[in-house]
Symmetry: C2
Subunit: 244 residues, 2 copies
């Protein structure tokens, strides 16, 4: 069984949206922050990885939300690196409230990027061993993402300086902000996210102007289908499931 | 002497820019969060204010930066409500590093907004008394902001859902992101902010598309002059002083 790492966090107002609930892009930053703290704790942090010319990138999220915590709530964020195969590492995250109720459960797929060539590198035993994950052959894929046919709304977003992380590309949490923001005020204020199924396909750099589109297909009224395009290149796609 | 309130904070990666230093918009969120905690501690929080039909708004900042802390640093954020007159409350903030060195010093002017009319309301004794500020007659103004003549660069920004706070307008920290972002990657990566002198003139709402412009006048090469316009309305202006 992989090593579990947990930390408590009290949510400040600025991690919330106007309904005072934790904003989903921040939820994902919190999760990743916790996994970075585990990596540092085990002596295999990003600085160590960069000495090997490598950095972790995220290829998939499956985010399941029972309930989002509020401003001022103290939550526990937990994570473990469950398993890995030649190219992918599968990490789990959980948020629990102060009474131990599960708020959020996330499965995230990571892989290693060669920082010089910007290409995928194979996962090395010495990087993974400290987390005590299961070494597996199987490659897991996210559940099927429903096809995107025709945009209901398309919104352009220009990459900002603060969108860029130390890997010199747009941070994954920004894609989630772009996916959600295009839905607009009325939709976001009156709907609750149940699940986000998300594939990252391509990195986005400073200077790029991307288009975040969504489709609300009549046959799946509680699922919005999303994609982020950089000109003709698909950078990410998602399905967002909304509570009934 | 006004009551001082302090709290410690360890900076997560997601509050930093790509240089791993605390991002200035987040610095301001941290400061305001600390003053909100002091207000809650003294029984005069935003919920209490809203029962009176009031909310605090910010009209000016004078932000002086000696050095920005890094990801992982534990800092102390302190604040006190120094003084107030009929319409304005003057609050001080400081950031200190773990050795007690001052990193940042901020003076912020607040006033009360009538939430229904969106107009300025006079400051009431019962709201201020718990902070033990000095009651003064004098009205302080920020140092003169250099006039804005001709934009060097103008960038449009569309208000996003997460830019809106519980007062239902764009949060003050977002103006600071817009001021800085228009300067672009190369400028921001190679220059350090020394001081930001900032006046807020007008609230901005969801759906607005504002223009953030800056001017680099040859006679003041270490000061950029900024303004945010919503059509023909000046919403905020700033001077940003850069370290030599």
């Amino acid at each position: 069984m992989a090593k579990k790492y947990s930390e408590k966090h009290t949510i400040p107002y600025y991690e919330c949206d106007l309904t005072r609930k934790l904003a989903i892009p921040t939820l994902m930053k919190l999760a990743i922050s916790t996994s970075e703290h585990q990596s540092a704790d085990l002596g295999v942090d990003n600085d160590y990885l960069s000495t090997l010319g490598l950095g972790w990138i995220i290829t998939q999220h499956d985010i399941n939300i029972t309930r989002l915590p509020y401003e001022g709530d103290t939550i526990t964020v937990s994570t473990l690196a469950e398993s890995y195969n030649k190219f992918f590492c599968y990490r789990r995250f959980w948020l629990h409230d102060a009474e131990g109720n599960e708020l959020v459960s996330i499965t995230t797929t990571f892989c290693l990027m060669d920082l010089a060539s910007r290409k995928i590198a194979s996962v090395r035993e010495e990087i993974m061993a400290p987390f005590e994950p299961e070494h597996i052959k199987k490659i897991f894929r996210n559940d099927t993402i429903l096809p995107f046919n025709k945009p209901t709304v398309e919104t352009p977003y220009k990459v900002r300086y603060l969108d860029i992380d130390t890997n010199l590309h747009v941070n994954n949490s920004v894609y989630i902000e772009w996916f959600l923001d295009t839905l607009g005020y009325e939709y976001l204020k009156t709907h609750q996210v149940e699940r986000i199924l998300l594939n990252f396909n391509k990195e986005i750099r400073y200077g790029d102007v991307i288009t975040s589109s969504y489709e609300l297909a009549p046959e799946t009224p509680l699922i919005t289908r999303h994609r982020i395009m950089n000109d003709d290149v698909l950078c990410a796609e998602a399905n967002i499931y909304w509570k009934n």
